[in-house]
């Protein structure tokens, strides 16, 4: 116990650095995947057959394979197989590859949620807008959008909380996120080695982060409760 107390400040400092990288990956993924998901959703709902077909196949492949495999393929395939290392070396390259993998993966999940939200708004809403002489874009922004958001918030909350934890998968390509930082103390780092508790302690970071997110997303859901 005394030993842990002694190690604690050093470990926390290292874990904080790792967690910043975790949060960076989390936010970049959200910022990228939210709009890309909408594009894929419109693709799969397109009346143009080939576009809808390609979008659906793409979503099937991405949702049907593990994110960990996608990370490995996206990071190593260009360099090892094509002999064209596009990601660059070091932490920057790993972060870029991880971001691309996560954005693509989460965009596919989001697209299915959006599709449900869009198709869940009754046709009568659009027709009422049309009859009142509104343009298609006015109908989208003033009538249907908020109803879609309301429908989409609960399933999106689920995905967002999963995303926080999924960032740990980036460890597989040695991205220096919080799991990597915790693991370093098992092998030996800053005079501490063979310590397993830092790994366990990373769970506290995820818990607190998801606690805050749950509160925020719950508030958003409440805010949209004023209509049905």
């Amino acid at each position: 116990m005394e030993l842990i107390m002694e190690q604690f400040p050093i470990v926390v400092r290292a874990l904080n650095v790792g967690f910043v990288q975790t949060l960076k990956l989390f936010f970049i993924t959200l910022i990228g995947a939210c709009p890309l998901g909408l594009v894929i959703a419109f693709g799969s709902m397109s009346r143009f057959g080939p576009l809808s077909f390609i979008s659906k196949i793409f979503v099937w492949i991405i949702r049907g394979t593990p994110l960990m495999i996608q990370l490995l393929i996206i990071y190593y395939f260009p360099g090892l197989v094509l002999h064209k290392p596009i990601w660059g070396g070091g932490e920057g390259g790993r972060f870029l590859a991880a971001s691309v993998s996560f954005i693509v993966n989460y965009a596919c999940y989001f697209s299915e949620i959006y599709r449900g939200g869009i198709q869940g708004v009754p046709v009568g809403q659009e027709e009422a807008g049309l009859v009142l002489g509104m343009t298609r874009s006015q109908i989208f922004f003033k009538v249907t959008l908020l109803q879609m958001i309301k429908r989409v918030v609960p399933p999106m909350s689920n995905e967002i909380i999963t995303l926080v934890k999924d960032t740990s998968l980036a460890r597989i390509i040695a991205l220096q996120e919080i799991i990597w930082a915790g693991q370093a103390f098992m092998k030996g780092s800053q005079g501490i080695s063979g310590a397993i508790w830092p790994m366990f302690f990373t769970a506290v970071y995820y818990l607190i982060c998801n606690g805050i997110l749950t509160l925020l997303l719950g508030k958003l859901e409440k805010k949209l409760d004023y209509f049905q």
């Binding site: 809403q125 002489g133 509104m134 006015q138």
Partner: protein, 270 residues
């Protein structure tokens, strides 16, 4: 001159011919009731008039102006249609109020969006907004909803929702107001309040087309009754004549079913 002239409208969905040559006209300030069994094409006719469906054949004229001519592709373009459909208002069976707006907001929304296209909108923003709000409030008062202006649709009864929907349609001052079975989604005890509002509009000489299954109401409110059957107008004329002395056997059968039901008290609602 007739305010509305509909000539030879035909509409087919895939293999089903829903409208098979519909022609009628309507004078300003008059009310026409359209009756007929489900699937006879009544709703499709209203949807064609409001450009929610595109007729395959036929012409629609309002005040002598050709709004739609199936033979002329230009009359079917989106931007053109948007202006033209403002000649018509439509009240839906299922209200279709916008859930995220209050009763007042529902009535004001379309008008406010239109105002933004006015060249003087930026300078007179406040006055325009107040004007629109005053008009919307007056309409809701007229509908007997003075104390419901700030309520959201889910806080209102079906009858109240439908009256908000009527106010919303009236806000744009359409030449012709269409009703698609306005009381069919309501509990029997709530139909009266909606029918009373429509009746008062008729008394104020609002030009209206009303698709309804309320026979007593159809007869009471209309200047002209149209009986539709299987995509055709089978009979049309003065309500007294159509209801008391139908020329067609099919009309007689249809009315008989209804009068029996009304005598049985099932749909006697007024």
């Amino acid at each position: 001159m007739s305010i509305l002239e509909v000539e030879h409208i035909c509409k087919t969905f895939e293999d089903t011919e829903v409208l098979k040559d519909i022609s009628f006209s309507l004078e300003k300030g008059q009310v026409v009731s359209i009756i007929g069994s489900s699937g006879s094409g009544k709703t499709t006719l209203l949807r064609c008039l409001n450009f929610l469906e595109r007729p395959d054949k036929g012409v629609i004229r309002v005040n002598g102006e050709v709004l739609f001519d199936a033979a002329d592709v230009f009359t079917g373009q989106e931007a053109e249609i948007r202006k033209k459909r403002l000649h018509f208002g439509l009240v839906f069976q299922s209200f279709n109020l916008f859930p995220q707006y209050t009763a007042l907001g529902n009535v004001m929304l379309a008008k406010e969006l239109q105002a933004k296209e006015r060249p003087d909108y930026k300078e007179k923003k406040k006055e325009i907004h107040e004007e629109i709000q005053a008009q919307a409030e007056a309409l809701l008062d007229q509908m007997g909803l003075s104390d419901r202006k700030g309520n959201y649709p889910h806080q209102l009864s079906g009858g109240q929702c439908q009256r908000v929907a009527i106010a919303r349609a009236l806000a744009l001052q359409p030449d012709i107001l269409c009703f698609d079975e306005p009381t069919s989604a309501l509990d029997p005890e709530l139909t009266g309040e909606v029918l009373r509002v429509i009746k008062s509009l008729a008394d104020q000489k609002t030009t209206m087309i009303i698709v309804t299954h309320e026979m007593a109401f159809a007869r009471d409110v209309a200047d002209q009754v149209i009986f539709m059957d299987d995509g055709y107008i089978l009979e049309q004329g003065d309500p007294m004549q159509v209801f008391e002395n139908p020329r067609e056997e099919r009309t007689r059968q249809f009315l008989m079913r209804f009068t029996q039901r009304e005598k049985g008290g099932v749909s006697k609602r007024r």
